[in-house]
Structure formats: structure tokens, C-alpha cells
Assembly symmetry: C2
Homo-oligomer: 409 residues x 2
């Protein structure tokens, strides 16, 4: 009998208890012994829950119990979850989590704490919900240098963008729809401003860089709040979808990581991820492109990843480090985003002349877009790899009225 505790009985925590219950025979068969949730720590009570008898608000019942060797942290955030995670790791209990904010903020300290206490800090569920991504990238692709990661990693924004594309809704209407469906929070900022995606690509980038910590708060991040129905019209005419992409690149010039909306060709596999689905394309220097697709959020899907990690932790105890331990690098890990080569769709009023564009972007490749809405001038800049973020930012300042700038994937 292996006993675990769940900290935080919200949506995902409850999902973990449900998945363990739903699949208990096959889990027991696989582990060779029964897996049970012994305690659920939460300040609330859940009198109507089938798991009510397991719920306690006394943390000693979890942290002082030697029978409990693995703790699931599904509290969220970086305050009480941080304290409890440190408490668990310090007493040698492995912590399994879906908490991308905590992992991306305090991952270095927590993984080093786990290492010092011969246990593990494991977080497959923190990126891509139920989709296997961390373990495949770290183990199956271990023979590769990861050259690029491009992911649709936030279901809220993907749902909003899909609604806008399919129904012609504007951003506000699509956001309201997402909120009514439970796909967006009342305060949706973390999603629509790209913060959630930023944290996830910081985690994946750190793993791709073999543990060299990437600070999410330092990453160039653009959300989707400026995307309009007119942008959607352009995307449709260009046979593309607008997707919020979280990107890591590691080439000859060094490593970049950033989040921004991109036009993605409809023939690209990433474009097949719509609504709340996520998709993460990883490019390795041996394997080429591999893509992982599935439900990036949701109670049972996220719980699936947590339970997979719990089972792995139990099967391997402290021997199988989840990923290479994270560390703070002495030298900068990422190249400044200003140097990153980019190609964009630029929409301007048609009062702007070709000469003005040439002056704003000297010696930058510039082609007319296949489509121009009435009253507009639309060009593709930087297709030949001669535009970087610095030149883009500087050039845009020449114009009083930039209608839209969307990066092209």
C-alpha cells in the first residue's frame, strides 16, 4: 500500500482523487500494490464529496506522517504552495505538481532542495496539461539538441482565437464566450496577456537548456488583446490561423524565448490545434519535428499527468530524477530578443507610401501582402531574414497609426 496526500482540493486536486479511484485496479496491478490517497489538505471542508473523510486542515497530518512519501501540490500560486512544497521536500517527500507559476518562479530552489533531500520535484502537468511533453522531451529526445520549441500552450487564448476565426466574433465577445464556458477566468489577464504561456515556455526552455534556468518574467511577451476581426480576415485570406505561440529557439546565434501571436499556415500541423487543445512542436537536430497534441487543461486531463508522475515516483522512488537539476547560470542564458530575426505582417493606413515604409525599414525585405483590406496597406517584412526585433520596434515608431503587427511563423 502506497500512501499519498493531495494539497489543495480544487479542480485538479479533485481530479487526481477521481482518476486514482476510477483506475485503481489497473494502477494497483501496475505498481504491484494499492495506491491510496490518505489525506487531502485544504482549509475548506467538502461535506458532499465522496472524499470528504480524507479532508483535513491540519498540515501535521500530512507532513509528519512517514507513511506519506509522495505529496501532490494542486494549490496553485507561489505563496502557500511554495511554503508547503518546501516543507514536503525538506522532509524527504517527493512533490508532484501542476503549478506552472511555482515551478517557473522557484524551480531552481525547489529542485535543489529535492536533490539535497533525496527526493524529487516533478511537474509534467505544469506544461500542456495531460499531454506528455516534459518526459518525452527530456528522455526520448535525450540524444538530440533541441533546436526549437513552438507551442500553443494556453487553452483559453486558443479557444478565444478559434472563436474569433470561426464565428467572426471580436475579442471581447469571444472572451465573454470563453468565460461563460469556464475556459477563462473572471480576471483573464494571466491567459490573455500571455503570462501563462510565458511561464510554460520558460519551463520548457530550461529543460531544453539542460537545467540552465530561464526566468519567465524576463521573456518578451505579447498577448492576444490587440487581435481584431480585421486581423482574422487577413489570416483567412492568407490561408493561415492566428495562434498565440510560445517559442524557444537555440541556433548558432544562441537561445531565444518569447511569446507572441503568430500567423501559422493552415497546412502546418500546429494549425490543427483548435479551441482548448494545445500542441507543442519540438525540433531536435536528429529527430526533426515532433509534435505533441492534446488537452492542455481540464480536470481529468491534468490529473492524468499528475497521476502518471505519482506512479513514476513510486516505481522509482528517489532514483529517477525527473529532469536534469536546474541551476542559475553565471552567464546569460538567452540572447537579447532585440537580435531575434522576425518576419511580420504589417498593416498600415493606405495613406502611407512605399517610400515611407522603405525609410522606416531601410534594406529590409518588403513584399505586398496577398491581401489588403479596403483603405489599408499591408506588407510582409523580413521574409529574407533581414529584420530583427530591434529594427522592427524602431521602424514602427515612424508611423502614427500602425493598424496591426503580427509575427509570421
Amino acid at each position: 500500500m502506497k500512501s499519498i496526500a493531495i494539497l489543495g482540493f480544487g479542480v485538479v486536486g479533485c481530479g487526481v482523487a477521481e482518476v486514482i479511484e476510477m483506475n485503481k485496479e489497473r494502477i494497483a496491478s501496475r505498481l504491484g500494490e494499492e495506491l491510496r490517497v490518505k489525506k487531502i489538505l485544504d482549509i475548506r471542508e467538502f461535506p458532499d464529496s465522496p472524499f470528504a473523510s480524507l479532508v483535513t486542515n491540519k498540515k501535521e497530518e500530512v507532513f509528519d506522517d512517514p507513511e506519506i512519501t509522495v505529496v501532490v501540490e494542486t494549490i496553485g500560486g507561489a505563496r502557500i504552495a511554495y511554503e508547503y512544497t518546501k516543507m514536503a521536500l525538506s522532509s524527504g517527500k517527493t512533490v508532484v505538481t501542476s503549478n506552472k507559476e511555482l515551478v517557473s518562479t522557484h524551480g531552481v530552489e525547489l529542485m535543489q532542495l529535492a536533490h539535497a533531500n533525496h527526493c524529487n520535484y516533478i511537474f509534467e502537468a505544469a506544461v500542456g496539461g495531460g499531454i506528455p511533453i516534459i518526459r518525452p522531451m527530456h528522455r526520448c529526445l535525450a540524444g538530440n539538441k533541441v533546436e526549437r520549441i513552438a507551442g500553443i500552450v494556453n487553452g483559453t487564448t486558443n479557444y478565444i482565437l478559434s472563436q474569433m476565426a470561426e464565428n467572426g466574433s471580436d475579442f471581447d465577445a469571444a472572451l465573454k464566450e470563453a468565460q461563460s464556458m469556464g475556459y477563462a477566468e473572471q480576471n483573464p489577464s494571466a491567459d490573455v496577456d500571455g503570462i501563462d504561456a510565458q511561464r510554460k515556455i520558460a519551463i520548457l526552455s530550461t529543460i531544453a537548456l539542460d537545467g540552465a534556468y530561464v526566468d519567465p518574467t524576463k521573456l518578451f511577451t505579447v498577448g492576444i488583446t490587440a487581435i481584431t476581426t480585421k486581423d482574422m480576415e487577413y489570416a483567412k485570406e492568407m490561408n493561415a490561423s492566428i495562434k498565440l505561440l510560445a517559442i524557444f529557439e537555440n541556433g548558432e546565434n544562441g537561445a531565444f524565448a518569447y511569446v507572441a501571436p503568430h500567423l501559422v499556415s493552415k497546412s502546418h500541423p500546429l494549425a490543427c490545434a483548435n479551441d482548448v487543445f494545445n500542441a507543442i512542436m519540438v525540433t531536435g537536430n536528429a529527430v526533426g519535428d515532433v509534435m505533441f497534441y492534446g488537452q492542455g487543461a481540464g480536470k481529468l486531463a491534468t490529473a492524468s499527468a499528475v497521476v502518471g508522475d505519482v506512479m513514476d515516483a513510486i516505481e522509482h522512488q528517489s532514483r529517477n530524477a525527473h529532469v536534469a537539476p536546474w541551476y542559475e547560470s553565471e552567464t546569460p542564458v538567452l540572447v537579447p530578443i532585440e537580435e531575434h530575426r522576425v518576419s511580420v505582417l504589417l498593416r498600415l493606413p493606405d495613406s502611407v507610401s512605399d517610400e515611407q515604409i522603405e525609410e522606416a525599414f531601410p534594406e529590409i525585405s518588403c513584399q505586398p501582402c496577398v491581401y489588403e483590406a479596403e483603405g489599408e496597406k499591408a506588407v510582409i517584412l523580413g521574409k529574407d531574414g533581414d529584420l530583427n526585433e530591434a529594427k522592427l520596434a524602431i521602424g514602427l515608431q515612424s508611423f502614427d497609426n500602425v493598424l496591426s503587427v503580427i509575427r509570421i511563423f
Copy 2:
């Protein structure tokens, strides 16, 4: 310094040596020590190869060397590869392979031999080439019951079908094109008759059934040789792609596994895998649908999976069993395919009447297809779940001239 040997210096074997060389620093950094290919066993010599000095035709130099703890088997087939694999496992050397024929035919014996000798038989590369599928399914999705697997697992046939769809080629022309590109063998039977896909779904099914061995030779298998340009016309009008799908299903009625061409809606993520790319959709009862996409074949892609397995074997030595050991079940593992519910597009000459169809398929749901080519009658049978393979086979016998039967996914 960890030493391995490669058996068989063909395309994949050579790829393994190249990937290890290409990424040697990061591999050494990850393992904490250098990984070297010490010997390459092949009856041929490769005087122009940078690895020529490692090549030997004396098997004792591999099997009698205690320094060599992991052996890569990239010979292929089930004869000499089988003998050498047994030899290696019997002397406690872990074997890593891409050999789907050997794994699907002798997997039970070889895994039990590995277990008895405290080593492992590991084969991520046997299914989906470089795409991580086995390890994610077995570990990350361990908290799920796998309810379905639907895979485009053969690049040759996917390339042929893509050519037929995009260029209007007929099967013979598309096959020639594939052969000239090196995507199909001179004797393409194993691919176009579905045998390769059959082996791969047998492997995945066995893993989904926690090791209960599924014999590939017993699986209902239809290849792509009967697909015509007219079928492609129907697919286009139905907004679908024709894909050779390898399918496993495990529901209330038991488990099925089979291979056949299917019409797949263009809006389904599986339809995004074209040309030589593979895609495998796995459905778990907690995670829902997850899909793994990438290069299912090719020198470096397949080598990537082999090297990932080699590194994992070295990191975990004999402690980390790749998958649950396989065994021969005393009771039948699969339900006879006759009972499997199926929905099909049936194309007949238009001289056939509705009454004749009703008589051949009594009380089976039957709808006109959205498209009918001139001179044809086309119906969708079994959409309501009331048709099984037995009734389909019996009903088809009523007609002298069945133009086409394609299953609908």
C-alpha cells in the same frame, strides 16, 4: 566511459553512430561520462566510413566483451537478429532495437529472457520511428486505461496516399514515385499490404493491454493496393483524407486491433499527417485524446529514438524496465473482428437498387453519400453503430460488382 556495440550497419545503425558522434558533448554532459560506440558488427566492411575502424565481423568481439553493456540491434528481420538478440540478452547485455518484426514476433520470449538476465529489451524506435510513443504511453499515461489507439504508422503508404490525393496519381504511379524517392522498397509488400502497420499496432496493443501479447499475424489487415483515383475523388468531395489506420480499441465489449484504410475528416488532427509523417492518437479514460506526430522513419529520426533508449538504459542500468513484461495470455486477448462495429462508404454501380442494398444489409442504417460519381451509387452504411464486420462481409457477397468499400473513422 560507457561502451556500446551496434549490430548491423545499415541505414539506422549508421544513423545511431552519427547521432552519437554529432551530439557527443551533450550526451556526455547528460550521462556524466562519455558514450562511445566500441564495436560495429557487420559481415560487410565499410572502408569509406568514418566508423570503419570499429567494424568487425567477429561476433565474439561484441558478445564476449564485458565492457559492452548495451547492444543496439539494427540488423532487422527475425533470423540473425533473433539469434544475436538472444545471445546478448543471455549474457546480460541490454538490447535496444528498432526492429518491429522481431519485437512483434518474439517479444514475449525476448522480454522474459531479458528479465531473467537482469537486463532489458527496449524498442521505442520500433513504432513511429523518432516519435516518442511507447515511453509516453507506458509512463506518462500510466494513470489511464487506454481506450483507443489510432495511428498512421507507415510512412510509405502515407506518402503514396498523399501523392494520390495531391497529384491525382493512381496507385501504381504513386508507388513508383515513392520508390524513386527511397520511401518504398523494390518489394513494397510489407508496407502496401499493411504488414508493417500490423506489426506496429500489435506492439502498441500489447503495451496498452499491460503486456498481454497480441500476435500481429492474427490481426485483420487491409492494405492500400485497392485504393483508386475515384476513391480519392470521393474523399475530396467528403472533405476527408484516406489514411491507412492501425487501430486498437478497448471498450466494454473487449479489445480489437486491426489495420485498414479509412476516410478521416480533414478537420481531424490525424489528417494533418501527410507524406512520410506519422501520427498516433491515443485516447485514455482520463486524459482524453493525445496525439504524437513526427517522422516515423528515416535515418536520423529513428536513430534519435534508439539513442534516447541507449541513454536511458545507461542511466538506469537494469532497474528501469522499459515496459511491463510481455506474456502469453491463457484467455483470448482480442475479440474476434467480426464483432467490431464499423461504418463504411460503399460504392456500387448505379444499376443496384435501394431494395437490393436493403436486402443485403437488413436493418442497417444506410444514408446516401453526399457525393456520387457518375454511374455510381454511393451509400454510408452503419453510421448508427448497427453494422459489424461480419454483417459487412456477408452483405457484400450479394453484389457482383462492388466498386469500393472504405471504412470511415
